[in-house]
């Protein structure tokens, strides 16, 4: 009981910390972090003089998306790791709680993956003028989103509870392995018509890194909080079912 109260407090603290940190990250991104200068655009003639400084990249504002886009993407991948981890632990222990945990981790992954896709795509639309480009990162995320959705399709199609848990665990592990492989293969097998893989400038300075880290910590807190809340909800549901069953006896 003591532990549960602590978890509750921790979750609450994580929501607050997440809100504060993402807000601080937001403020830092827009008010403090200097623009990332890409020297590639200088060669093509783009550039502007602002405040007596030659600013190479003419589209400075759109890069502000990255201060939230990258942390969300990293968070989604970290949570996806827990899908595989809990899946593995379920297979080793056959403890139903791990199955629930893996399922919820996948659900939170889906939320973060979708947010990654949307924010990334808005940047793509502005910077490249297209809603969709089969660029390594985009492709990888698309495949990862499909895998996460398919995870739920698989679960929905199996009635037997134990079998569903085992299959979902196995698929979760495979899917987690698959995501980095997709990234590797899309990077290392260029097909000639891929656009140049974008990079955030040549090196980031301290304040830019700080901003990203603050936003990342905020996103991780939010991810943890959502996960904990969803887990408590599932536990409460299970408890209600058990109690109702005992009432009917």
């Amino acid at each position: 009981m003591e532990l549960r109260v602590d978890k509750k407090r921790l979750t609450f603290a994580a929501v607050i910390a997440g809100a504060v940190l993402t807000t601080v990250g937001f403020v830092l991104a827009f008010l403090v972090a200097p623009p990332v200068l890409a020297d590639t655009t200088l060669a093509s003639g783009g550039g502007a003089m602002i405040g007596g400084e030659l600013i190479a990249n003419p589209v400075l504002f759109s890069q502000k998306i990255f201060y939230f886009h990258v942390p969300v993407a990293i968070t989604s991948f970290i949570i996806f790791f827990f899908t595989a981890l809990y899946g593995l632990r379920f297979l080793m222990t056959k403890d139903k709680a791990f199955d629930t945990k893996a399922r919820i981790a996948t659900e939170v992954t889906l939320v973060f993956v979708v947010l990654t896709m949307i924010t990334g795509d808005l940047w793509t639309r502005f910077e490249w003028g297209k809603w969709w480009v089969w660029e390594p990162r985009l492709t990888t995320y698309f495949i990862m989103m499909m895998l996460v959705i398919v995870y739920f399709v698989l679960r929905a199609s199996i009635e037997d509870e134990e079998r569903r848990a085992v299959y979902a665990a196995a698929f979760g592990i495979l899917a987690f392995l698959d995501a980095p492989l997709s990234f590797l293969i899309t990077r290392l097998v260029p097909s000639g018509n891929h656009p140049v893989v974008f990079k955030v400038g040549g090196g980031l300075d301290a304040i830019q890194v700080t901003t990203s880290v603050v936003a990342l910590l905020g996103m991780l807190c939010l991810g943890y909080a959502i996960y904990q809340m969803r887990f408590r909800e599932e536990r409460a549901k299970e408890r209600i079912e058990a109690l109702k069953a005992s009432l009917e006896d």
Binding site: L60, F61, S62, L115, L122, L222, E233, A236
Partner: protein, 64 residues
């Protein structure tokens, strides 16, 4: 129009809708989801409370 301002606006304004949309989607998405989950959680924990009481009552009547 002041050329400096024009230059500055040309750098910021075209990207603004996309940047604003990205942040809006993110925040609304995350905190909206948290709000929905919190609401559901509250309802379910209330329900759990009711069911627990019912079980306790039943236990008392069965015991007496």
């Amino acid at each position: 129009m002041d050329p400096v301002l024009k230059e500055i606006y040309s750098l910021v304004v075209p990207a603004a809708p996309y940047v604003i949309a990205a942040y809006a989607v993110l925040w609304v998405g995350l905190f909206g989801y948290i709000a929905v989950v919190l609401g559901r959680l509250g309802r379910i924990e209330r329900e759990l409370h009711v069911v627990e009481e019912a079980v306790a009552r039943k236990g008392v009547t069965a015991g007496s």
